[in-house]
Amino acid sequence: MTSLERTFSLKVPSATENLALIREFVGNVGSQAGLVEDDVAKLELAVDEAVANVIEHAHGNDSNKEVTVRATFDTATLRIEVVDEGEGFDPTAVPSTPVEQMVHDRRTGGLGLRVMKSLMDEVSYEIIPGERNRLRLLKRIQK
């Protein structure tokens, strides 16, 4: 008996040096799920953005905290969950400033969310203040 759903999870110290390891992890799972090469690359980047935000914004670069990435796939979709224990934020309040304006303002950040949204089929946040914040990314598997 084999169920159709497969779950993989990875927990690492909350530090940017682990982004490479996390990309390899989701890349491997993505390949195993049957994503085409181009979609594997998109998945790696979207998860990198998600985890980089947790490390910086939710965990304030405290490497004693941990980041958990969970990946689940069946034949149709691959879903990723990234959970943090930070204070949460209002993703709808993140402004979609044009890049020309951001350049003018000499911004060095503020691009992560839009990258995720353009690479994934669905991006959603579940924010439970003071408890946990969960970002879900979904990629449909091309047949």
């Binding site: 490479a20 980089a52 044009p98 350049v103 911004r107 950040g109």
Partner: protein, 122 residues
């Protein structure tokens, strides 16, 4: 995974060429940031970034391009990008960076652009 990202500098006349290699992410972006800052500190604002060996870029890397371009142009220079693989170029384009940066195929082409259009309107 030791040293997943490197910057190697060469020069063509007064144009500095920064050759990027490997993975440019939130962990390695400070290395790239320092390399550009070093050019500005040395009053060399004519910069070509050669991405031929750049395997990967995330928004943290793109943020370095975004944060410096105004200063570079104010200093009378520009930053031109060349050699990006289709995979990496795609990420620049998702964010509309082709409207802001000169992007060409090769280092000589990028250096040549400084002769024809020394600075570009920001």
């Amino acid at each position: 995974m030791p040293h997943p990202f490197k910057v190697h500098r060469t020069a063509e006349g007064d144009v500095s060429v920064l050759h990027l290699e490997g993975f440019l992410d939130a962990h390695t972006a400070p290395v790239f940031e320092q390399a550009i800052q070093a050019e500005l500190d040395a009053h060399r604002p004519r910069i070509v970034v050669d991405g031929a060996q750049l395997t990967y870029i995330s928004s943290a890397g793109l943020g370095v391009f975004m944060g410096f371009i105004e200063q570079i142009r104010e200093d009378g220079g520009d930053l031109k990008i060349c050699g990006l693989s289709p995979k990496v170029r795609q990420i620049f384009e998702i964010l509309g960076f082709q409207a802001i940066y000169d992007m060409v195929d090769t280092v000589p082409e990028a250096v040549q652009r400084f002769a024809s259009t020394p600075t570009r309107e920001a």
